[in-house]
Every structure is written in structure tokens, then in C-alpha cells.
């Protein structure tokens, strides 16, 4: 107890959990799956990618930081598309009964369609892999934003709406001063979930189109039989996904304080 770092269960248990996974990984690679690189071999073959994250030897042989950056830019574009389309659709679904009746079935119908199904269609429409990838990300990632926004609008307390009614606010003022701020916490929950989905879709999109990025790299290294780099990519994808979620979680918490 005298030491500066307190070894509380909260500090020890996550390390213990990670150690268990590493142990299981080592055992699996030593026994039933000899092709799976061990943690040590993964580290040895990946260290350059991690320690010099921004080197560039060729289109598909680059530091993991550079690859992650390409993926993040692509996700940012697709995500922006998802929010730009999803938010107004969500508000319309929540505000207008007619709009809801017209388009809710289509939303429910399109929501469960996998990115793997959209991507070829994107390629058919745009003839190029980059816009097809962004189209796929946007289309797959927008549903949580659409649904959460619509639910948020419909759960606005009658007391807030009554304030607007007593003041005889115009439709526009009602929207800007009351409906949008009251819905904002729901909207941001949608944004957080959408970002998670966008990041989920990027790997599939890059694998299918073979564009440089974490997902593209993963698929290429699989084809080149460098399996340790698959693990490197998987871990990178997980780490970035985790960070993105935390980031949006913090933004969401700020909005929710209202």
C-alpha cells in the first residue's frame, strides 16, 4: 500500500483479462492453428509498422498510421454523408405523420441490408471504387441517426411544446428554438452509433475495393500470406473504433447535460 501506484482491482483486472486473451492466442497458435502467428511473432513482424507509423514504401506497404489516416478520411466523408442525409430524414419522420407513413416502411426495409450488398451497387452507379465506398458507408451508417432523431422528436415533452403554443411561435421558430434543442441528446446518440457503424463498414468497403487503408491492407496481406499483419490490422481497427466511440461518447455526454 506504500507504493505510489495502487494495485486496485480496477487496475489489475483489465490487465489480467488481456493476459488471458494473449495466453489463449499463444496456445491456439502453438497447437491447433500453426499458421496463426504467435503474439511474439506478430510483434516482431509488425514493429516497423507501429514504430514508424508514417513510412511509405509503396501504395500498399505503408506505416499503420498512414493507412489508418486514409481509412479515417474515407470514414469521415461517408459519415458526413450519413449525417447530412440521416438527420433531416429523422426530423421529417418524427415531425410529419404523412412522411412517416410514406417512408418508415422503406427505412425499416433498408436498415438490415449489409454493406456487402450495397457496395457492388455503388460500383455500378459510380463506376469508381472511392465514391462507391463512401456511398456504402453513408447508406449503412445513417440508420441509427435516422431512427434516433425520429424517436427523439416524438418523445419531446408536451410541456415544451405547450410553451411554444402559448407564445404562438411560427413553425420555423418552434423547430429551431424548441424541437431541435429538445431532440439534440437523441440525435447525438444516433451520431455515436452511426460513427461505430461507419467504422464497421470501412473494412468491408476497402477489402472489396482494394483501396489503400487499414481494411485494404488487411486483405492484401492475407493474399500475400503475411498473417501477422492481419492481426496488426485487426488490432488497429479495434483500437481506433474504441477511441472513436469514446470521443463521440464525450460529445454526447456534453449535449446530454442540458
Amino acid at each position: 500500500m506504500g507504493s505510489k501506484i495502487r494495485l486496485t482491482p480496477q487496475a489489475i483486472l483489465p490487465v489480467l483479462g488481456a493476459a488471458c486473451v494473449l495466453l489463449a492466442w499463444t496456445l491456439v497458435s502453438a497447437t491447433i492453428a500453426p499458421d496463426l502467428p504467435s503474439p511474439l511473432r506478430t510483434w516482431q513482424e509488425s514493429r516497423r509498422y507501429l514504430l514508424e507509423p508514417f513510412f511509405k514504401d509503396g501504395e500498399m506497404n505503408q506505416g499503420i498510421g498512414r493507412l489508418a489516416f486514409y481509412s479515417l478520411v474515407r470514414v469521415a466523408k461517408g459519415y458526413a454523408l450519413a449525417l447530412a442525409i440521416g438527420t433531416p430524414i429523422g426530423f421529417l419522420l418524427g415531425l410529419s405523420r404523412r412522411f412517416h407513413q410514406s417512408f418508415d416502411p422503406i427505412v425499416q426495409f433498408m436498415r438490415p441490408i449489409s454493406p456487402l450488398a450495397w457496395l457492388p451497387l455503388g460500383l455500378v452507379i459510380f463506376q469508381k471504387s472511392e465514391p462507391a465506398a463512401i456511398f456504402t458507408i453513408g447508406l449503412c451508417a445513417m440508420w441509427p441517426t435516422v431512427i434516433n432523431t425520429a424517436v427523439g422528436v416524438r418523445s419531446i415533452g408536451q410541456e415544451y411544446l405547450n410553451v411554444g403554443r402559448v407564445l404562438k411561435l411560427s413553425r420555423w421558430k418552434m423547430l429551431i428554438r424548441i424541437i431541435v434543442p429538445a431532440t439534440l441528446p437523441y440525435v447525438f446518440t444516433g451520431y455515436r452509433l452511426s460513427l461505430g457503424l461507419a467504422w464497421l463498414v470501412i473494412v468491408a468497403a476497402e477489402m472489396l475495393t482494394g483501396t489503400p487503408g487499414v481494411g485494404g491492407f488487411l486483405w492484401q496481406e492475407y493474399n500475400s500470406l503475411i498473417y501477422s499483419h492481419i492481426i496488426l490490422s485487426v488490432l488497429t481497427i479495434g483500437a481506433i473504433g474504441f477511441l472513436l466511440d469514446r470521443l463521440m461518447g464525450a460529445v454526447e455526454a456534453r449535449v446530454r447535460v442540458n
Partner: protein, 275 residues
């Protein structure tokens, strides 16, 4: 013709489980600058009456006239101070009041609107807290903001729906005193809905007792013969106070016989939520 006139006001809520008659022909009249209280048990239909007067819901029958004009919907000439404040949590105290001032005076220059907003913030002694959000305020302060917002609409009629019922007794007394002072300065036309007999006598010129529902109506009004300006101290010892209190309590007790009142209250609440 009186400044505010309510005639034969009826309202029932219809759900799948059946029809619940809440108000069964409410009659009410106020002169300009009068302070009138409606006192009744919880669940007798008081909030329904406020919603009707405010135009937030439509009556099944009857008519409401304010300054000669028939009420057809909500509007700022009938300001409402809601029971649970209904402040917009994303706006500061100032912006909550400014929203009302800006909505009611769209043609005034911005400087003038700001001046009016500041005036009403000062009226309820909230100038130091003007930039705070509602969640940073105590219940008493929140209700002050709501009162200021209601007054800032400069309504012809101010409706107050059990404005102090959620507050502790000490805060309630303070706010009642403040309301007494503010009304003394401005002489607005006010209808106060309350379940607190003493609050009604302290504040109102005239009190309408409300029979418990279903089909609630207002009993004959009781004049409060206390001179103004009124002071809380020693007031309960005055004969006029005791006379008004006895008349009010006797009426309420006598009308409070019928059995299914509790069930009625629950039903009405669920109907309001459904709406």
C-alpha cells in the same frame, strides 16, 4: 359584460375504456385587474380547466371570452405559469424570458426588448442568476423564472396552475409574498388554481371552490374581505380571514362526499398523458 367570462364549460376525456366527464359546466367571471382563485381537491379537474382557459385543449361545450374576444386556441394574451415550471432546460434564465418577450413584441427594436427582459428578471430578483440554466436553480428560483416569463408576455389574463405546489413550505411562503408584491405593483388579471385554501385567501379577491369530479363545477364565489395591501403576519387572526376560510372549507367538505374520487383522479391523469 365582464372582462373574462366563462360560460357552461364542459369537458370529457374519451378513451377506449370509456368516457370520463371532468368538467360539467363551469361558470366564471372576472373584472379587469382582479385576482381570482379556484380551489379544489387534487384530481378534480383544475389542470383541465387551466388547459381550456389557455386554449391548449378544446372544450366539448361552452365558451370562454377574454376582453370580448372568444378563445379558440393558445396565445400569449393568456399567459400560463405551469405547475412544473416548463422552463426550456437548454436556455438560460434570461433566454427563457427573452423567448417570451421576443415572441410577443416582434416589432420592437432589440434594445427595447432587452430592456423589457431585464425588467422582468429584476422583478423576480433573479438578476444575479440571469445566465444560469434551469438545472442550476432551486425549485423556488425556477418558479420565479416561470412567473417572470408569464408576466413578460404582458397577458390580458395570467393563468397560474398550482404554481407553488411543488415547493417546500418556506419557499412557498416567500413566493406567495413576492407574488402579492408584484400583483400589488402591476394589478394584472389573474386566475390562480390551487389546492391550498390559505394561499387562495392570502392572494385572491374572490375564491371559487371547485366540486370534486366527475362533472366538476364551481361553487358560488366567496369574497375575501381583507383590505390591500395585505400582509401575511396576523392575517389569520382577522375575522374576514376566518370567515372566508370557514365558508370555503365548509363548501369543499360538503361537496366532497361521492366515492370514486381517487379513481377519477387517476383516470384524468392517464387521459392527459394520452393526449
Amino acid at each position: 359584460m365582464a372582462y373574462v367570462e366563462v360560460r357552461g364549460l364542459r369537458k370529457a376525456y374519451v378513451t377506449r375504456r370509456g368516457r370520463t366527464p371532468v368538467l360539467g359546466g363551469v361558470e366564471l367571471a372576472l373584472d379587469e385587474g382582479e385576482f381570482v382563485a379556484v380551489v379544489g381537491y387534487s384530481g378534480s379537474g383544475k389542470t383541465t380547466l387551466v388547459s381550456l382557459l389557455g386554449g391548449l385543449i378544446e372544450p366539448d361545450a361552452g365558451e370562454i371570452r377574454v376582453d370580448g374576444a372568444s378563445v379558440t386556441g393558445p396565445g400569449p394574451e393568456r399567459g400560463i405559469v405551469f405547475q412544473h415550471y416548463s422552463l426550456l432546460p437548454w436556455l438560460s434564465v434570461r433566454d427563457n424570458i427573452a423567448l417570451a418577450v421576443d415572441a410577443v413584441n416582434p416589432d420592437l427594436p432589440a434594445v427595447e426588448r432587452r430592456r423589457i427582459t431585464d425588467e422582468f428578471i429584476a422583478l423576480v430578483n433573479l438578476t444575479p442568476a440571469a445566465w444560469k440554466r434551469p438545472r442550476e436553480l432551486s425549485g423556488g428560483m425556477r418558479q420565479r423564472v416561470a412567473v417572470a416569463r408569464g408576466l413578460a408576455m404582458r397577458p390580458k389574463l395570467l393563468l397560474m396552475d398550482e404554481p407553488f405546489s411543488a415547493l417546500d413550505a418556506l419557499t412557498r411562503a416567500t413566493l406567495q409574498d413576492e407574488l402579492l408584491r408584484i400583483w400589488g405593483e402591476r394589478r394584472s388579471t389573474v386566475i390562480l388554481i390551487t389546492n391550498d385554501v390559505d394561499e387562495a385567501i392570502l392572494l385572491a379577491d374572490r375564491i371559487y371552490p371547485m366540486t370534486p369530479g366527475p362533472d366538476a363545477v364551481l361553487g358560488p364565489p366567496i369574497e375575501v374581505g381583507l383590505p390591500r395591501p395585505r400582509r401575511r403576519r396576523h392575517m389569520s387572526l382577522e375575522p374576514a380571514y376566518q370567515k372566508a376560510r370557514r365558508a370555503l372549507v365548509d363548501f369543499l367538505r360538503a361537496s366532497h362526499g361521492a366515492g370514486s374520487r381517487l379513481q377519477q383522479a387517476t383516470l384524468e391523469r392517464s387521459c392527459l398523458e394520452l393526449r
